[in-house]
C-alpha cells in the first residue's frame, strides 16, 4: 500500500473497517471476510456492473448499488447481507440459469457453479424458472487452434472482452447481437478467422468455462490432479510465472500466476500452450553413442566413461584450449554455473560461450563499456508508466508479448512511442512515429538524432557535467562528430524523412521520462556495438537515465540468456561479470572453487562463432554442447557444418535430436525445464525460481547431475551438492551481484539483482546514483557511420533481414512439437515488397529460391509492404528453410556478434 493513501473508516454489516480512501468497495468487503458474490468483477479489469450479484445497500444511496462500482469514502455504512439483498442475488442467479447451461465436466474452475451451490440452486426444485438456453440460436465456436467458446455457457460478464482489451491490449473480442441473444465474437466472426493470437487471457478470466482450452480437454480432470507447480515460463526473457497442472505424471495445463511480477497472470500463446514438447515421443531417453555412423543406445556408464576418456585424451594431446563448450540459455543458472565451472576447471580453458553471442553480445559489450552493466536498467512495469518509449530493432509484440502488454497499456494512457524498424511490426499501430531506416544505417540515424537534440538545445548539460566521464569536454567531441550528421544528410543515408527524425528526437529528448528498448535489429550487425554506443550517447546527453522510468533495456530473447551470462558462461568473465584477465579475480574464484589458482586459464576464451571458426581451422578438436543447436542458430551454416565435421569428438546434451545431433559422437538425454529445480534470470534482472513439475522421461537426467558426474569421471570432482539450492549458495558466493540471494529468499518472491547481501531488497532500477563503471560515470563513445561491407549488386539485388515469429521460438525444437503452435504457423516464408516480387513474377504463395554468396534455401513468398522495396524478411526458426545458410560470419570486432540482419540475396521463382 502506498504511504500517501489516506485511510477511511467504513462499516459493513456493522463491522468497523479501515480501508484506503477510494478503494473498491467489493475488494474491501472481500478482504475483510464478507463473501459478497460477483461474477463480472475481476481485480485486473475496470468494473463492469453487469452481473449485479454484488449489490449492497449503502446508507444515503437509493436502492441497491453494485459494490464493484463504488469507491469507499469516509463514514460509508454498507449492508452486504440481508434478506432482501440475498433474495435479489438468488433471483439474479436464477435468471442466469435461465440462459446458462450449467452442466459441469470438471475440467475447468467454475466460479458460477460455486455460487449455484451456495444458493442451493444445484437442486432443480429450488430453481424459479425452466431453462431456455436450449432454444437460443447459439453455436459453439471451435475454430481456434487453442480454445473453444460455448455461448450457452457464457453469462456475458465482459471479462473476456476486457481481458483481451484492457489486459492484453489486443481488443479482438466483442459482443454481437443484443440482449439475450448476444454472444461473443472474435474480430468480425469466429475465433479461427480473427486476429486472436491465442494468448488465452480470456480463458484465464472466464468465470464459467464458456471459453476453455482445447489441448488436453478430454484428459484433464481437476479432481485428479497430482499437483500444481508454480514455475517460470521456458520461452522468452520476460520470465512469466506460470502454474503447471500435473495429472498422471504429465503437464496438462498452464495458467498465468496472478498477482506476481513480472506478468501478473498474463501469458502469451507459448507460455499457455507451449508445454506439450515436454511429453513428446521424440524426447531423448537414453544415451546414444555413434558407432559406424549410426547412433546406438548405451548405458550412462558406458557413455560417460567414453566421454571422460575422449575429452581427457584430447586435452592431454592438444592442450586445454583445444576444447570448448557451448552453454545454454535454456538451462537453469545452476546448470550453467556448473557447466562453466566444468569448462574452466575440468577442461581448463575459457572457451565457453553460448547463443548470447548471437543475440545481445554487442548490446552487452557496449553497455558494459559505457555504463557498466550488461542488463536492462528498468523493471518491466516501467514499460507502462514511462512517458516516451524508444523502441529500436525490437519487434516486441511478437518477441516479448508480455512486455508488450505493458507498452500497449501505456499507449492507451497516452504514452509516446517511437518505433525504429526497417520492417513494419505490430507495434507500429501504437507508435507516435515510425522511423523506417534502410538496413544497416542505424549509426547514421542515431548520430542524426543526437545532432538534432544538440542543435535544438535539448541536451541536459547538468547531467553531462555530473554523471558523464570527461563532462562537457567529452560531450564536445561527440558534438563535433555528429555535427556533420545533418537531417538532410541522414535522411539521404537512411531514407527516413527529416520531419520524422526531428519529431523522434524531440519526443525522446524532451519527454519527462524516456526509456530505450533495443533488440536484435540493432545488435545483430557488424556494427552492433557501435549501434548501441550511439543509443547510449543519446541517452547520456539527454539525461534520460539515472532516474526511475529512464534508461536502456534489451529485452532478452531466451528464458535464461541473462542468467547464463550472469553466472559466467562467458569467455571473458567469471560469474558476476568479473574479468578472467584480472589475477586477483582469478585467485578469489579459485579459492571458492577450491582449485589451484594457476589451474584456471588467464587467457580469455573464444566466442561462439570464433569457436566454430577455430574448429574449422583445426584448432578446436572437441566440444561439449549443452542444449544448443548451432546447426540452425549459427551464421553461415555451411561453414558451421564443416567445422562440426572436422572435430574429433563432439558431445551434445539435449532433450531432442536436433539439426546438430547428427554431428555428435555421443548424445546425452537431458532434462527439460519442467523436470528440475533451479533459477532463471529474466530481462529485468529478476532471479526467478524454476520448479520441478514432472520426472525426466526414461533415463534422461538433470543437466547439472550429468556435468557433475563427468567432472568426477575426468578426475576433477566437484563438491557433493545435495540439491540445486546448494549449487546456488556457491554461485552466490562467486557472483557478487547475487550475493544476497538464496532459494530460501526466493520462496517469498523474485529478487532483482544487484542484491549483494542477504538484507538487500534487490534493485529495480539501475544507475540511480552511479554507473557501474570504474569511475562511476557514464562514457560517451562517439562513432562514425560507415557503410556495410555486405552490399547488394546485380547478382544479389535484395537485402535479407531475419527474425522471429510469435508462435515459434529459437530453433523451434520445442514449439514445433506443440500442436497448438503448429496449428497457428508451421511453415517458413519470405516477406517481399510487391515491386520486388513483381520483377520476378512472384506472387503470394509462390515457391521461391533464395541464394546468397554463401548458400541456397527454398521457401514460399508472402507479398507485403511491411518491408521496404529492396529488402526481404524471413523468420529463421524453420529447419526446412534454414536462413542461416545465407547469413555471414563476418563479426562485429568488439562483441563478435554475427550480422544476421544483413545478407545480400536474390530471390527467384522455382
Amino acid at each position: 500500500m502506498n504511504a500517501k493513501e489516506t485511510m477511511v473508516t467504513i462499516t459493513i454489516d456493522e463491522k468497523t473497517i479501515q480501508a484506503p480512501s477510494g478503494a473498491n468497495l467489493l475488494e474491501v468487503a472481500r478482504t475483510n471476510g464478507f463473501a459478497v458474490p460477483g461474477l463480472c468483477y475481476h481485480r485486473k479489469l475496470t468494473p463492469t456492473g453487469a452481473c449485479r450479484l454484488c449489490l449492497v445497500k449503502i446508507e444515503g444511496m437509493r436502492g441497491l448499488v453494485t459494490s464493484c462500482t463504488v469507491k469507499v469514502t469516509e463514514g460509508m455504512k454498507v449492508t452486504a447481507f440481508d434478506d432482501e439483498i440475498e433474495n435479489t442475488r438468488r433471483l439474479l442467479l436464477n435468471y442466469l440459469l435461465y440462459e446458462h447451461n450449467d452442466t459441469y465436466d470438471g475440467t475447468y474452475p467454475d466460479e458460477m457453479r460455486e455460487l449455484i451451490i451456495r444458493y442451493g440452486l444445484d437442486k432443480p426444485e429450488n430453481r424459479y424458472f425452466p431453462s431456455v438456453w436450449q432454444t437460443l440460436p447459439f453455436e459453439k465456436d471451435d475454430t481456434s487452434p487453442v480454445l473453444t467458446y460455448d455461448p450457452a455457457k457464457c453469462i456475458k460478464c465482459f471479462r473476456c472482452i476486457k481481458a483481451c482489451d484492457e489486459v492484453q491490449g489486443k481488443n479482438v473480442l466483442s459482443f454481437t447481437e443484443r440482449g439475450i441473444k448476444s454472444f461473443i465474437i472474435a474480430g468480425t466472426g469466429v475465433w479461427g478467422e480473427s486476429e486472436c493470437d491465442g494468448c488465452g487471457e480470456c480463458i484465464q478470466l472466464c468465470p464459467t468455462g464458456a471459453i476453455v482450452e482445447k489441448p488436453y480437454r478430454d484428459v484433464i480432470e481437476l479432481d485428479k490432479l497430482e499437483r500444481t507447480v508454480i514455475t517460470t515460463c521456458p520461452y522468452c526473457g520476460v520470465g512469466c510465472q506460470i502454474e503447471l497442472l500435473v495429472q498422471d505424471g504429465k503437464i496438462v495445463r498452464s495458467n498465468g500466476v496472478e498477482g506476481v511480477s513480472p506478468n501478473d497472470g498474463r501469458l502469451c500463446v507459448k507460455g499457455r500452450f507451449g508445454y506439450e514438447f515436454v511429453h513428446s515421443h521424440d524426447r531423448l531417453t537414453k544415451p546414444l553413442i555413434k558407432r559406424n555412423g549410426r547412433f546406438e543406445e548405451a548405458s550412462w556408464d558406458e557413455a560417460l566413461n567414453l566421454i571422460a576418456g575422449r575429452f581427457t585424451a584430447i586435452r592431454e594431446k592438444y592442450g586445454s584450449d583445444a576444447l570448448a563448450g557451448y552453454a545454454s540459455a535454456k538451462c537453469t543458472n545452476e546448470d550453467n554455473y556448473l557447466f562453466q565451472k566444468f569448462i574452466r576447471t575440468v577442461f581448463g580453458t575459457n572457451n565457453i560461450d553460448y547463443c548470447t553471442r548471437l543475440c545481445h553480445a554487442s548490446t552487452v559489450t557496449a553497455m558494459l563499456k559505457a555504463i557498466g552493466d550488461g542488463a536492462g536498467s528498468n523493471p518491466i512495469e516501467d514499460f507502462e508508466t514511462v512517458d516516451c518509449l524508444f523502441v529500436t530493432g525490437n519487434n516486441i509484440i511478437d518477441t516479448h508479448p508480455i512486455t508488450a502488454t505493458y507498452v500497449k497499456r501505456g499507449a492507451a494512457k497516452g504514452q509516446k512511442i517511437i518505433v525504429v524498424d526497417p520492417r513494419w511490426t505490430p507495434l507500429v499501430r501504437y507508435a507516435t512515429v515510425w522511423l523506417q531506416p534502410k538496413l544497416g544505417t542505424d549509426v547514421a540515424l542515431l548520430n542524426g538524432l543526437c545532432h538534432i537534440i544538440i542543435k535544438n538545445g535539448w541536451v541536459n548539460r547538468k547531467f553531462i557535467e555530473e554523471r558523464v566521464e570527461g563532462g562537457i569536454e567529452a560531450f564536445s567531441q561527440l558534438e563535433e562528430l555528429v555535427s556533420s550528421y545533418t537531417p538532410d544528410e541522414v535522411a539521404s543515408i537512411t531514407g527516413v524523412p527529416e520531419e520524422k527524425l526531428e519529431l523522434a528526437a524531440e519526443l525522446y529528448a524532451t519527454s519527462s521520462t524516456s526509456m530505450i528498448a533495443t533488440g536484435m535489429g540493432l545488435s545483430q550487425q557488424v556494427t552492433g556495438t557501435h549501434n548501441v554506443f550511439c543509443l547510449i550517447n543519446m541517452m547520456l546527453i539527454t539525461g534520460q537515465v539515472g532516474r526511475e522510468r529512464c534508461g536502456i533495456n534489451p529485452p532478452r530473447g531466451q528464458n535464461n540468456v541473462q542468467g547464463a551470462t550472469d553466472v559466467g558462461c562467458s569467455p571473458a568473465n567469471y560469474p558476476g561479470y568479473i574479468p578472467v584477465l584480472n589475477d586477483e579475480n582469478r585467485r578469489k574464484v579459485a579459492g571458492i572453487w577450491g582449485v589451484p589458482y594457476d589451474s584456471l586459464s588467464a587467457r580469455p576464451g573464444l566466442t561462439t562463432v570464433e569457436i566454430m571458426q577455430a574448429a574449422y581451422d583445426g584448432r578446436i578438436k572437441a566440444m561439449y554442447i549443452m542444449g544448443e543447436n548451432p546447426m540452425i542458430s549459427d551464421p553461415n551454416l555451411n561453414h558451421t557444418e564443416e567445422a562440426l565435421k572436422k572435430m574429433e569428438f563432439v558431445v551434445v546434451q539435449d532433450i531432442f535430436h536436433t539439426e546438430t545431433t547428427p554431428f555428435a559422437d555421443v548424445i546425452l538425454p537431458a532434462s527439460s525445464w519442467a523436470e528440475k529445480e533451479g533459477t532463471f534470470v529474466n530481462s529485468d534482472r529478476r532471479v526467478l525460481r524454476v520448479r520441478k513439475a514432472v520426472e525426466c522421461p526414461g533415463e534422461a537426467r538433470e543437466d547439472w547431475k550429468i556435468i557433475h558426474e563427468l567432472a568426477k569421471r575426468m578426475g576433477k570432482p566437484m563438491p557433493g551438492y545435495r540439491n540445486e539450492a546448494e549449487i546456488f549458495d556457491e554461485l552466490a558466493k562467486v557472483t557478487p551481484i547475487m550475493g544476497g540471494i538464496s532459494f530460501e529468499r526466493l520462496e517469498k518472491g523474485s529478487i532483482q539483482w544487484p542484491c549483494p547481501s542477504p538484507g538487500h531488497p534487490g534493485t529495480p532500477t539501475l544507475y540511480l546514483e552511479n554507473f557501474n563503471t570504474q569511475t562511476g560515470r557514464g562514457k560517451l563513445f562517439p562513432v562514425e557511420y560507415s557503410p556495410q561491407n555486405e552490399k547488394v549488386d546485380g547478382e544479389y539485388p535484395l537485402m535479407l533481414n531475419s527474425g522471429r515469429l510469435l508462435y515459434h521460438y529459437h530453433t523451434a525444437t520445442m514449439t514445433r512439437r506443440t500442436k497448438a503452435l503448429r496449428d497457428f504457423v508451421d511453415e517458413a516464408f519470405v516477406l517481399m515488397h510487391p515491386n520486388d516480387a513483381a520483377r520476378q513474377m512472384i506472387t503470394e504463395g509462390s515457391k521461391v529460391r533464395l541464394e546468397s554468396r554463401r548458400g541456397v534455401i527454398e521457401t514460399v513468398a508472402r507479398i507485403s509492404e511491411e518491408v521496404l522495396e529492396g529488402e526481404v524478411f524471413m523468420p529463421w526458426h524453420f529447419t526446412e528453410s534454414q536462413v542461416n545458410r545465407l547469413t555471414r560470419d563476418e563479426l562485429d570486432p568488439y562483441s563478435k556478434i554475427a550480422p544476421f540482419k544483413l545478407s545480400a540475396v536474390r530471390v527467384t521463382r522455382i
Binding site: T48, T66, E99, I155, K156, E177, G179, I180
Partner: protein, 416 residues
C-alpha cells in the same frame, strides 16, 4: 375547448425550414445575439429561473444540469450534446422540430454552449430520421456562413462548432450515458453512474446532454425572459409541452400546449376525440416506458409532478389512446417484445428479465382468468426486481406499463 399555444412550434409550417433568412425574418437568432451580449452566468441563471425541465422524459430541472456543466472545470473542452435519438414509441415531437424549424435547435444549442462555455456540440439524431438530418445539416451550414456557428460568433470571443452524428437503431442509445458511449464510437452500452455527464461526459470531459425540445425552448426563454416563460404551464412544470397523440383518435399528431393541460382536453379538443366516438379504454402515457391510465383519469393534469404523485408518468409526452374495442393483452405483449428486443444485454436482470417477461406475457393468450391474474402477479414481481437491480433505465422501465396494467386493468385483462 382548449387550443394550442405554440412557442416551440411557432415557426413550424409557417417558414421554409431550409432557409435561414426565413428563420431570421421570424426573429430567429435574436435570442443568441441577446445572450452573447450577456455574461454566460446570466444566461444560465435566466434558464434556471425559467424553471424549464428536461423534455426528454425524466423532467430533470435543466438549470441544475446547466449549472453543473458550467461549474465543471477541464483542461480540455466542454461539450453540448443534443439527444435527438427520439426512440420512445409514440413519440415524434423532436422530429417535428428538426424537420420544420431546424435553426431553432441550432440556436438553442449555441445559447446552451455559450452558457456553459462549451466549444463543441453534437446532435445525436435517430438514424432513420433522414429528413431531420438533412434539414439540420443545411441549417448548420447556413449558420456557419452567417457566423452563428464557428469562430468568434457574432464578433464575440466565443467559438462553437456543431456536428451531426446519426444513431444506428438502438432505443437504448437514447439514454444519455449510452448515447455518449455511442457518440464516442463504441457499442451502445450504458455507463455506470456516477460520474454524471456534467462532470465526466463525452471523452471524459464535462458535457451537457439535453433533449431537442428542451434546447429548442431556450431561444424563447432568452428572448422573452424567465418570467414570461413561467407565466405558462404550472408552477412546477412551467412553459409549454409538446404532446404526441396517437392511437385510436380522429386527429393524431403533435400538439403544443401549456403544461398542466387536462388529459381529456388533449384527446377531445386537440385530437378530435376517439376514432369510434366511444369512451377510450386506456391511455398509455409516456410511450413504452410509460404507464397505462384508465378512463377515470380523464381529468389528470399533464405535468411531471402531479402524474408522478398519482403513480403515472408524463415521460416524453406520448399519449397513446386505446379505443374501446382494442385489447390490452396484445398491447402489453408488444411493449414487452420491444423491451426484449432493445435490451442491450449488458446487465443480467434486464437481459433475462425482459426476455422472461415477454415469454410470460405470451402465456396470457391461452390462460384462463385466474391464471392470467397469477401471470400478471408474477410479471409484476419480476419487473419490480428488475427495477431494483438493473444497471440503466431500460431495465427499470418494464415496471411502468406492467405495474399500471396490473393496477388498473387486472380484471379487464383477466376476461379480455
Amino acid at each position: 375547448m382548449i387550443s394550442e399555444n405554440r412557442i416551440i412550434l411557432k415557426n413550424a409550417g409557417h417558414i421554409n425550414p431550409a432557409s435561414i433568412d426565413d428563420y431570421i425574418a421570424a426573429g430567429g437568432y435574436g435570442a443568441l445575439a441577446k445572450a452573447i451580449r450577456e455574461k454566460p452566468e446570466m444566461v444560465v441563471e435566466e434558464i434556471a429561473d425559467s424553471g424549464l425541465r428536461g423534455r426528454g422524459g425524466a423532467g430533470f430541472p435543466t438549470g441544475i444540469k446547466k449549472k453543473a456543466a458550467a461549474g465543471a472545470t477541464t483542461a480540455g473542452i466542454k461539450y453540448v450534446v443534443c439527444n435527438a435519438d427520439e426512440g420512445e414509441p409514440g413519440t415524434f415531437k423532436d422530429r417535428e422540430i428538426m424537420e420544420n424549424d431546424p435553426h431553432l435547435l441550432v440556436e438553442g444549442m449555441v445559447i446552451a454552449a455559450y452558457g456553459i462555455g462549451a466549444g463543441k456540440g453534437f446532435i445525436y439524431v435517430r438514424g432513420e430520421y433522414y429528413r431531420s438530418i438533412e434539414m439540420l445539416q443545411k441549417a448548420i451550414n447556413q449558420a456557419k456562413e452567417k457566423n452563428f456557428l464557428g469562430n468568434e460568433i457574432l464578433g464575440s470571443r466565443f467559438s462553437f462548432d456543431l456536428e451531426i452524428m446519426p444513431g444506428a437503431g438502438s432505443y437504448l442509445c437514447g439514454e444519455e450515458l449510452t448515447l455518449l458511449e455511442s457518440l464516442e464510437g463504441k457499442r451502445g452500452y450504458p455507463r455506470i453512474k456516477p460520474p454524471f455527464p456534467a462532470e465526466k461526459g463525452l471523452w471524459g470531459e464535462p458535457t451537457l446532454v439535453n433533449n431537442v425540445e428542451t434546447l429548442a425552448s431556450l431561444p424563447s426563454i432568452i428572448s422573452h425572459g424567465a418570467g414570461w416563460y413561467r407565466s405558462r404551464g404550472t408552477e412546477k412544470t412551467p412553459g409549454t409541452k409538446i404532446f404526441t397523440i396517437s392511437g385510436d383518435v380522429k386527429k393524431p399528431g403533435c400538439y403544443e400546449t401549456d403544461a398542466g393541460v387536462k388529459l381529456r382536453d388533449l384527446i377531445d379538443d386537440l385530437a378530435g376525440g376517439t376514432a369510434d366516438g366511444k369512451p377510450w379504454k386506456a391511455v398509455l402515457l409516456g410511450g413504452a416506458a410509460g404507464t397505462f391510465v384508465p378512463h377515470g383519469w380523464s381529468d389528470a393534469t399533464m405535468c411531471y409532478d402531479e402524474l408522478r404523485e398519482r403513480g403515472a408518468t408524463l415521460g416524453s409526452g406520448a399519449v397513446i389512446v386505446v379505443g374501446s374495442r382494442r385489447k390490452l393483452i396484445p398491447f402489453i405483449q408488444n411493449i414487452l417484445k420491444f423491451f426484449r428486443h432493445e435490451s442491450c444485454g449488458k446487465c443480467v436482470p434486464c437481459r433475462i428479465g425482459t426476455s422472461y417477461l415477454h415469454a410470460q406475457s405470451l402465456l396470457l393468450d391461452k390462460a384462463g382468468a385466474e391464471e392470467r391474474k397469477a401471470i400478471l402477479n408474477d410479471m409484476l414481481d419480476n419487473s419490480r426486481q428488475m427495477a431494483k437491480s438493473s444497471l440503466c433505465p431500460l431495465g427499470q422501465s418494464p415496471i411502468l406499463p406492467v405495474e399500471s396494467l396490473h393496477r388498473h386493468f387486472m380484471e379487464t385483462v383477466a376476461v379480455e
